[in-house]
Amino acid sequence: MSQIVKLVAQRLALGLLTLFIISLIIFLCVEMLPGNFSEAILGQAATPETVAAFNRELGLDLPPHERYFTWLFNMVQGDFGRSLASKRELSELLGYRLENTLFLASVAAVIAIPLAVTLGVLAALYRDSFYDRAVNVVTLSSISFPEFFVAYILILILAQNLGWFPAISNINDELGFWEKIYRTALPAFTLTLVCVAHMMRMTRAAIINLLASPYIEMARLKGLRPGRIILKHALPNALAPIINVVVLNMAYLVVGVVLVEVVFVYPGLGQLFVDSVRSRDIPVVQACSLIFAMTYVLLNLLADVLSIMSNPRLLHPR
């Protein structure tokens, strides 16, 4: 266990460094964006005079390094700053969006992960059968479609023609849990379709990879049932790659769903990020990027920890 604690500590420290560098990169990127917040907000109405006044009010007239370090200083103290636009506390603004994003990711994950692993295990069990090939072709096709296309098709069938689900995911705090799930169904299905294939194929491959190993042969020679061989002997040893791909997909569900959010008008973090880039709302862009990066770092850490937990060799060293 102490090994895990050490690893977590090490990785967290490294993660912090990564986050710091990312914040710097993102800040520089935003600095290089053509135009600034004031111009973006004022649009056609941006006269040099009003832009200058706006910049003064927001402190955008300060030199970049000063702004960055002020931001960093506040950040370290837990103050995310305020949105330039709405002057709202970012923690509040982002909290709500992040919650939505995580909600969607969770719903999709809860559908996708068991489905993918089950399909993968079954495909490994009945490999080279008709079922295996069918699942293979179907999942391959589903990752081959652009996300937005899958989304539109789902809308056409499930919302327009059948009317089972709402075409847009208009969710808010006032909704009950099930109502929220109902309204999130279509984006969740879209994401499920997009990421099941990846996870399923990896599960299948990881298991099949192991089927040639001596302990699987041993299990067969012990007269065990094929299902038991797969579940009890192959699956536990295939966990590490499966966990990795699952976590990778989780990260995707959190950070990579901009398109789906746009199509379903889902008020998630991705849309907020795109909007903020468009309007040069630096603190929001920064905070979003950091949240995304942090998700990535933490999920990777989670993958490592889970991989260790699933591997007795690492969990119980000699």
Binding site: L211, A212, S213, P214, Y215, E217, M218, A219, R220, L221, K222, G223, L224, R225, R228, K232, H233, P236, N237, S310, N311, P312, R313, H316, R318
Partner: protein
Amino acid sequence: MSETADKTGQKGDVLVEMHGLRIEGRSDDIWHEIVHGVDVILHRGEVLGLIGESGAGKSTIGLAAMGFARDGCRISGGSIMFDGVDLTKASDESLRQLRGSRIAYVAQSAAAAFNPAHKLIDQYCEAPVQHGIMPRAEAESDAIDLYGRLQLPDPENIGFRYPHQVSGGQLQRAMTAMAMACRPDLIVFDEPTTALDVTTQIEVLSAIRGIVRQFNTAAIYITHDLAVVSQMADRIMVLRHGNLVEEGDTRGMIEDPQKDYTRELLAVRTFRKDLLDEPNAETPLLRVENVSAAYGKSPVLFDVSMDIHRKRTVAVVGESGSGKSTAARVITGLLPPSSGQVYYDGQPLAPDHRKRNKDEKRCLQMIYQMPDTAINPRQRVSSIIGRPLEFYLGMRGADRDARVRELLEMIELDPAEFFDRFPDELSGGQKQRVCIARALAAEPELIICDEVTSALDQLVAEEILKLLQSLQDELGLAYMFITHDLATVRAVADEIVVMLQGEVVEQGPKEQILTPPHHEYTELLLSSVPEMDPDWLDNLLDQRAP
């Protein structure tokens, strides 16, 4: 064949009877026959030894006794009767019920055949519980009992460890216990001691033999080592290329082999190099002086010194973990020593190989244990051998090709046939020859041979040893010969260095080391090498018993 079986004397009824067994294997989507109609009879309580080189089909036949063919193989003809049931016609379900409960299997590498994700005892209990023979609790206490009988340390608790927490020899015994769990009628042992050090091998062999005798279980014992099988088996079948060569009871076979091939197998360890004069006092070609080395923070070599003289072979012998390969890495400069110095021809060598000059590198070549990984599978033989020619000697074009052909002839491969081949198209022995040619191409003075024969079949290994010997005679090379196999040492060494846990235990000329009195560890090593004598193990155990 049945006459022979009769002659062996029955211990019981016939348990397994294979007739005209044919097995095919698939490569490149084409089925090739790999076992060409073999008959096998096994009686209850009898131990049958299957012996042969790789590709003889011995494992395949052993598995066929369980009605099992590996992926890419299929049983294409003949019958396999197990206790009155034809396994070739039995349903998958009935086969599954037989396996594990009435026929059990002990694999070559226990470390690989135990599932790393589960504790030993869980894996032990699986077969009896799944086959409905006994409940879990009973199986557990039975396991502890068997662990005890197999002389495993701390039998109460060892089952609750994971495979990686248990040593190789112990794992092999735990696997034997697992095979015994349902008290099967037949156990197939597939080279159970091949991967073990000689000293450990003794323990495992005695444990296996004890338990098989105790429960009067019939067994098929598969191995490539005639000396080992003669300790275990009542009767031996010699196989080659999927055909039966000879069959007979153990003692008869050892004492009076009928076929040339069997005789060759028996003679395999008799090659001896001619004795040379004592080394002259001139500067040794290579001198290792008080070298210590470590991987990271864990030290592996302690104050090792040795000399290698021109035209002589120094054998470095020791079991796994003795540091013999590390010594080679220090000499080649792959692992700079933490202290000590290596001299070549009296000149100190840079500790790091990257700092050595081309000539120093050229003079010191290395041949590796696994020819599969030692040559680049994506290069043709001509480029593998040709590269050192270009690199060291600046040969180009036709010159180079001519020299490659010369070298190929030197290693006894037909240039016309092998020049353009890829390593995939070579056998293990041929690959090792290519490795030798590559080393030779550099025109070295010293070649470090790191377990060069241990991955090869015995006959092939012997050929390689002979080749190396003739090259030494012809070119005046010096060899540093790293091996765990004392037979090899006996065959090729001029001088011997015995290593144990990173230290040199004893060193000196061959006669001196091999003649008593020995150092304690040398004694243990020497006595543990199985001999072609069915009574050897019994005698040794008697001897060692306190």
